[in-house]
Symmetry: C2
Subunit: 578 residues, 2 copies
């Protein structure tokens, strides 16, 4: 929903004021919208675009060299008036005539047509090209009824490049019509936007459902279905667009196209990249030569959640125009980008390190290590949501996911090492490296330290005794404190690790078996983890936010306690087996 | 919330694949992240940035000439591992050493520091500059504890420009530290994001409330308050940042700064422009010279609703580095932007047209016109939500707002014209022009036609008789059908206007007074508007969407019925008064 405004009725005006204040190097305000602040050469055709506000960067963000000369900016989702269009065009024109281009909506057609009449009456040559890229808004044999969505960009961009190249008005209009003929878009939506001051969204789609072909102002679509996976959505979008090739494109496999994956507002870049990954695969599989892909926000609808795919089918002329320099507030291309060279620094593939020699006793222990790390991964799996929730309260919510990735990588690496004949130390060290590499984040680095500290003490020969494990655990506690610059009481996993190591050392020194000592130490860790609820958070967390972080055990300490309890079971089972 | 993924655990990997597929002209994938696909000159310092994924364009979108040489891309909201950072830096380095720069979070510090050790051990000179711009995350005397948010951009950009300019490693690091010293940010949030596959958002802020100083992963802020107006938010942000000038900036009025208003994800461009409008006013009032403002998305948190203001206080060196060419997937500046010239086509201010001559009788009628248009505006005000809702079902939801703007502009224009001595026709014509100019959209254009058609028939002399008004109304119906290319049954205001005009003509011909005839005609319009509920929508609306548009009267017809009823009251009152 829209959250920030002053008076809703002033929103569009104040928005344009702010846009111009932020982009004075590109645009200046005139009655009805904006024109280029740097002007344009005498005699150049002026491209004037426009439409309702609420679609940024359409339309003001597309005014600049190599793109539009002016934009008529209407109220929110409302066509600019004929007076506005006329005013902008009259100011923008440089004696070469005016091309009006805009999305094909009833209100825009009315007002731009009226403006065209007024401009012609005033002696200014004028042509108009409404954009009709949305395939879901009318059948192929009624293309003139289709709406314009993100395909605006291809028409404006090539027409703007043609104007910049000095084409006369009739030729600029021809390029715009050709680009429109060769542009097709298809979109989906999950929620509508809520306009400033409105109580309700423009439209709603049920949770878990997706509207197919729905327009950018909530105009009717062609259906509704369950939210698909990212790959399934890519398949839907590509299939529909490959199903309707424009005139002049005989077959997809002989053609080249620019894909534009446009976000409507709150469907974000990361999701679109996941979808685009599959789109690229599908287009390549269909034999389409992909040119200059675009993934981003080119025509939005406030914070509507939705996306559309546009395919712009190039011919030689359009391809050449596309690559010319362009410099607008929201659309830029450097003029002197060096061509990509073949990368000269080939990556050195990590060599498979040789497995260190080991004896039978250590290889037997390695199997216990494999079991222990597998139990760690299973323990994390069983508690992943709980850990994530705890971290969402105190931190950034990634603890559960990071622990899961790290522990699974560790389990796999341990299994592979043991199968390859590694002893206990090497097996555990491989697990440590895999954990820190795959998990990333703080916890990944710290768990790498913990496992490798223990590994260093147990060796690859003989059966490690309980004091060796206890020493390794003490090293782990010291290592984590040094590496993480944390102390007990800082509300990190140190709060559980230190009591665990101390209790393990004490019990082992008192003569307990490793399995028994470990069980006792794990109890101490569990108690300590629960006690972190009484501590204030530190380490990367500046201050308590509304006291929410009080009363919740730290996820790092909590996961350590859970894991030591799981490992205690493995050790007990291993002891029983002997 | 995040809606599109395949398996949540694969999200980050697939996201990077898609990002690279879309941006092959800029980046190529390596273990741990991306590096420039075009390489960089031998001996150049390599700037390697990074952090968790989920903040696009940070960090991969900032790899390119004039910016970073590589980005280590961690899992969602998780630091990249030391191995990832080392891998990216080793591939990106060109013999001139490596500068590591990243946001100051515990996990990132751990992993980047470990990578620095490994790089140095491998003989690659390496320096590190964590970014600490978020003023809400620690007090000024503990700046080293502060988090990095959108201020990443200023540090990366100037360091990247310094590397491009051939500065040696120590100097690139000096520039980065200087930029960090001179960068301050302050942010607010309204909602948290929901990670792929998660059931709940990372954090929640109560409806109508705003968290102040909250971190981009939901880290603790410093308070919570009611959602302010756009202007009030601007005041909060600017006041806090002017309160803490960096060393080297003695006073705001002697300084120049780049403002960066960053959107976190679903707070959109239009809202930010409204806020920026006031920020620019406040900075100017404080005497700050504003340089190259940025309003957009530079460091996001998926679709979190929030924004932050960064001020980057320039000195001569930083200002010069800032203006160099840059060309990355998500951050570009053309190298040959012509300086803005003084606009040569000065706008012709619309001259105050002279008021046409009129007589006393017509000026008296003009007062009735003023009353009628005022009642129209009041009628629209009273029904604005209802009209918006009806249009949200069938169209784009702008009908209520457009009608409100148009009718108020018309009422004001009518009042001004009558006060200036205009007769009835001129008064109504001014109202017509103001309506279509200010309302925009379809309805604005059509109401302009309606009012001007009636105006043309009533003249500026004498008291208009009922047949003149009836003829004007018939003209209006014909004009709207011609202009809007709509016919009765198309579910537009024509469906109410045509019966209204016909009934008015019939009643007047039968000898009724204008007031009585108008009342009868208005009843016919009301009946016809209600009947539009049984019609299918047409005119710019392709097909019914889930049948939602059935059963709802068309807002255009409905508002015409309401307005004619309001005017009937004015006419009745005027008759009584005589």
């Amino acid at each position: 929903m829209t959250r920030l405004w002053n008076a809703p009725a002033d929103f569009a005006d104040e928005m344009i004021d702010g846009f111009v204040a932020a982009n004075g190097r590109y645009v200046r305000r005139v009655t009805g919208g904006v024109v280029r602040s740097a002007g344009a050469p005498e005699g150049q055709v002026a491209l004037v675009v426009g439409g309702g506000s609420g679609h940024y960067p359409a339309f003001g963000g597309l005014v600049g060299r190599g793109l539009a000369h002016g934009a008529a900016m209407g109220n929110l989702f409302a066509s600019p008036s004929a007076q506005q269009v006329t005013s902008v065009a009259t100011t923008a024109q440089r004696g070469g005539g005016v091309l009006l281009s805009y999305g094909n909506y009833a209100g825009d057609v009315l007002n731009f047509d009226a403006a065209q009449e007024r401009l012609r009456a005033a002696g200014i040559p004028c042509e108009s090209v409404p954009v009709t890229d949305d395939v879901s808004s009318a059948p192929a044999d009624e293309r003139h009824k289709r709406r314009g969505i993100a395909g605006d960009l291809t028409v404006f961009r090539t027409a703007g490049a043609a104007a910049e190249a000095g084409y006369p008005l009739a030729e600029v209009a021809r390029v715009a019509r050709l680009a429109n003929e060769r542009t097709r878009s298809f979109g989906v939506a999950f929620t509508g936007c809520t306009l400033p001051g409105a109580d309700e969204p423009l439209f709603e789609v049920a949770e878990g459902r997706m509207a197919v072909g729905l327009g950018i102002h909530g105009e009717p679509g062609i259906g509704e279905e369950d939210v698909p996976t990212a790959d399934e959505l890519a398949e839907t979008l590509v299939a529909r667009l490959l199903d309707e090739l424009p005139d002049g494109v005989a077959a997809a496999e002989d053609a080249r196209a620019i894909p534009i994956l446009n976000g409507l507002g709150s469907l974000k870049y990361e999701e679109m990249f996941v979808v685009y990954r599959r789109i690229a695969q599908l287009l390549e599989a269909a034999g389409v030569e992909i040119v200059d892909p675009h993934v981003g926000e080119y025509c939005t609808s406030f914070d509507m959640a939705g996306t559309s795919l546009t395919l712009f089918w190039l011919d030689d002329e359009l391809a050449e125009l596309w690559e010319t320099p362009v410099d607008a507030p929201a659309y830029r291309r450097g003029s002197d980008v060096p061509a990509a060279t073949t990368a000269d620094a080939a990556e050195a593939a990590a060599e498979d390190e040789a497995i260190a020699p080991s004896d039978d006793a250590s290889r037997e222990t390695a199997r216990i290590v494999v079991d222990a790390v597998a139990v760690i991964a299973a323990t994390v799996d069983a508690h992943v949501d709980e850990l994530g929730r705890m971290d969402a309260i105190a931190g950034d919510g990634d603890h559960g996911i990071g622990m899961q990735r790290g522990s699974h990588a560790a389990a796999e690496a341990a299994r592979a090492a043991a199968e390859a004949g590694a002893g206990a130390a090497t097996t555990l060290l491989r697990a440590a490296d895999a954990w820190s590499d795959r998990a990333g984040g703080t916890s990944g680095a710290l768990w790498g330290v913990i496992l490798s500290s223990v590994a260093d003490r147990i060796g690859d020969s003989g059966r490690p005794d309980a004091p060796a494990v206890a020493r390794g655990t003490a090293d782990a506690a010291a290592g984590v404190m040094a590496y993480g610059k944390a102390e007990p009481g800082d509300k990190t996993l140190v709060d559980a690790l230190v009591p665990f190591a101390e209790e393990l050392g004490r019990a082992v020194a008192a003569g307990a078996s490793l399995a028994d000592a470990w069980r006792t130490a794990s109890g101490a860790a569990t108690e300590a983890a629960a006690a972190t609820a009484d501590l204030l958070p530190r380490m990367g967390r500046a201050r308590p936010h509304a006291e929410k972080s009080l009363g919740t055990p730290d996820p790092g300490a909590h996961s350590l306690a859970l894991i030591t309890a799981g490992v205690a079971d493995v050790l007990a089972a291993a002891t029983e087996g002997n």
